[in-house]
């Protein structure tokens, strides 16, 4: 198992390297001059040249990359052109917010998918099942930013009492109740699309398992239906679900970017979106890097979990 994890980590290195090259290239092909943002209004040529030299932007691109990478490895992603704040600092400040939002979305998506997916599979072709299957097709096609707006409208004008506020963020340490209240709508917005995918996976892998011999055996030996479903069916059906959840983490990161913008949540997604119009490269670069690395690590975590859950997968290396 350790060998497997180590091997996977080693394989990640070249990919992570290419990811950093990719991010660097993407940002540098940009037309327009960020210096103009950085040096302030109406700068003279000397100031521009000075700032350019100070930021190392007068060096050849490969050298700029090497310098950027070596600083990045030490946790220094440069300073924002706009606010002059350290990018690492700006990201670290906002990361917990995005993480909380993402975790809430994942929790909603997985819990609802498990419960409703199981009911839908057990009561196949019932009204619940019909609703579920329609939702799985509609859910992936609905644009999450429009869903966010609809939810805001719904709770601002239709549902009385303003139970759920239309946006903003309160830290959990300040007011846990308000924190959760403000988290619900954005988390639902993010969760919907991935819920549709997860739901479908839970339902179809349960249906696959229902046809297998050991299910009949379990029933034949007189187990109660609940035990048959939970201990025999669900446990085996969950294996493919885990993979799908791994893929969904990417969708959740994407969702956070859009959703934070709509709901005025001070996470890293909103940070990036606000940095785009002013060509604040270091900030965009930093956020893209952090989201790519988090996605890679979570995919790895899911793969390891998968190997752990399914004994049929060989870990490679010495122990087969």
């Amino acid at each position: 198992m350790t060998t497997y994890i180590l091997r996977r980590l080693l394989l990640m290195i070249p990919v992570a390297f290419l990811v950093t090259v990719g991010i660097f290239v993407i940002i540098r092909i940009a037309p327009g001059d960020p210096i103009l943002t950085y040096a302030g209004e109406d700068p003279n040529p000397e100031t521009i040249a000075y700032v350019r030299a100070q930021l190392g932007l007068d060096q050849p691109v490969p050298i700029q990359y090497a310098a950027w990478l070596s600083r990045a490895l030490q946790g220094d992603l440069g300073r924002s052109f706009q606010t002059h704040q350290r990018v690492t600092e700006a990201i670290i400040e906002r990361l917990p917010v995005t993480f909380e939002l993402g975790a809430a979305a994942l929790l909603i998506s997985v819990t609802v998918a498990l419960v409703v997916g199981t009911i839908s599979a057990i009561k196949r072709n019932s009204a619940v099942d019909l609703l579920t299957t329609s939702f799985t097709i509609a859910g992936v096609s609905f644009p999450n930013f429009y869903l966010g707006l609809l939810l805001i409208l719904l709770f601002a004008y239709v549902v009385p009492g303003h139970i759920l506020p239309p946006g903003g963020f309160t830290p959990f340490s300040t007011d846990p109740w308000d924190n959760l209240r403000r988290l619900i709508l954005p988390a639902i917005t993010i969760a919907t699309a991935s819920l549709a995918v997860n739901l479908r996976q839970v339902r179809s892998s349960l249906l696959d398992v229902f046809g297998l011999d050991y299910m009949r055996t379990a029933r034949a030996k007189g187990l109660r239906e609940r035990a048959v479903i939970v201990r025999h069916a669900l446990k085996n059906a969950l294996i493919p679900v885990v993979t799908i959840i791994g893929i969904q983490i990417g969708a959740i990161i994407e969702g956070a970017i859009i959703t934070e913008t709509i709901f005025f949540i001070p996470g890293i997604g909103r940070l990036a979106v606000q940095a785009i119009p002013s060509q604040d490269y270091p900030v965009v670069q930093g956020v893209v890097l952090v989201s790519a690395l988090s996605f890679m690590l979570s995919t790895l975590a899911v793969d390891v979990l998968y190997a752990f859950l399914d004994p049929r997968i060989s870990f490679g290396g010495a122990q087969a």
Binding site: V15, V19, P143, Y157, R203, I247, I253
Partner: protein, 296 residues
């Protein structure tokens, strides 16, 4: 020698193209529904200038912020522009971005996949690491990064979404090539001296085309959704040109005044377009390639 072995001739009933298409659609009713939806979308996009009741960018301040009525089916925005007309015109942007970006992804991805699968070796190793790196980004994040740096223009959005679509095709193609490569008919073709290029195009490609058609349809759904998201973030076509995502973004400022109709039209339009391609893709998968029938 009383009963000589006579040659047996079995004649299959000749079918016309039209009748076999009818048969195919009858066997796959979901395909029929998907095709009808797609035809409506294409019709709207092609004839938007004729169907649209108003000029989508003409400002008529006197008509500003009217709720849906017989004159303005989906109401008007703050500049008095007819939302329904803007939605119809917006379909042109969405569909063209969908088709063009998917074509970019298809062409590059399939070429890389064919080469990697057929050549193997170093090329395969290097190409697949690059593909892995592309897959390491959440798709929309990569598209946002590319469009943000190239500049907020529709062409750049197409390029960005196209690049994001490459890994899907490359991986699918490579996998299919690997599974087809060792089949007898490929060995046979190679034995009789078919040159590699021809072998790939004439013998391998047609055998993996079904899977690619399915992938392309589903990728178009993603592309339309991604374009809407980019436009929503201000990275798509610029105002005053009508685009669904951007119009929803624009309507946000009137949310507090309960002018819900400004976003309802474009929101539902995005849903219908994306739904059409997802639905069609699913139906195609079931119809063309039962082996591909996944639940994911």
């Amino acid at each position: 020698m009383t009963e000589a072995a006579l040659p047996v001739v079995i004649r299959a009933q000749q079918q016309t193209r039209a009748s076999s298409l009818r048969w195919f659609l009858r066997k796959n009713p979901r395909m029929l529904v998907g095709m009808v939806l797609l035809s409506i979308l294409l019709f709207v996009a092609a004839f938007a200038p004729i169907i649209a009741p108003y000029d989508p960018i003409k400002v008529t301040i006197g008509d500003a912020l009217q709720p849906p009525s017989f004159q303005h089916w989906l109401g008007t925005d703050d500049l008095g522009r007819d939302v329904f007309s803007r939605v119809l015109w917006g379909s042109r942007i969405s569909l063209s971005v969908g088709v063009i970006s998917v074509s970019i992804g298809f062409f590059v991805g399939v070429s890389v996949g064919l080469l990697a699968g057929y050549l193997g070796g170093t090329f395969d190793l290097l190409a697949m690491r690059v593909i892995d790196a592309l897959l390491a980004f959440p798709a929309l994040v990569l598209a946002i990064a590319i469009t943000a740096s190239l500049g907020p223009q529709i062409q750049n959005a197409m390029i960005a979404i196209g690049v994001v679509a490459i890994p899907g095709y490359a991986r699918l193609t490579r996998g299919q090539v690997l599974s087809v490569r060792s089949r007898e008919y490929i060995t046979a073709a190679r034995t009789v001296g078919v040159p590699p290029f021809r072998l790939v195009l004439r013998h391998i490609f047609p055998n993996i085309a079904n899977a690619l058609v399915v992938q392309a349809t589903l990728a178009t759904a993603f592309a339309i959704l991604a374009e809407a998201a980019l436009s929503f973030l201000g990275l798509g076509p610029q105002p005053p040109y009508p685009s669904w995502g951007q119009d929803i973004n624009y309507s946000q400022r009137y949310l507090a005044n309960m002018k819900w109709w400004m976003s309802a039209g474009p929101g539902i339009a995005i849903f219908i377009a994306v739904f059409t391609f997802n639905f069609l893709g699913d139906a195609l998968r079931d119809a063309l390639d039962p082996r591909l029938r996944r639940s994911g």
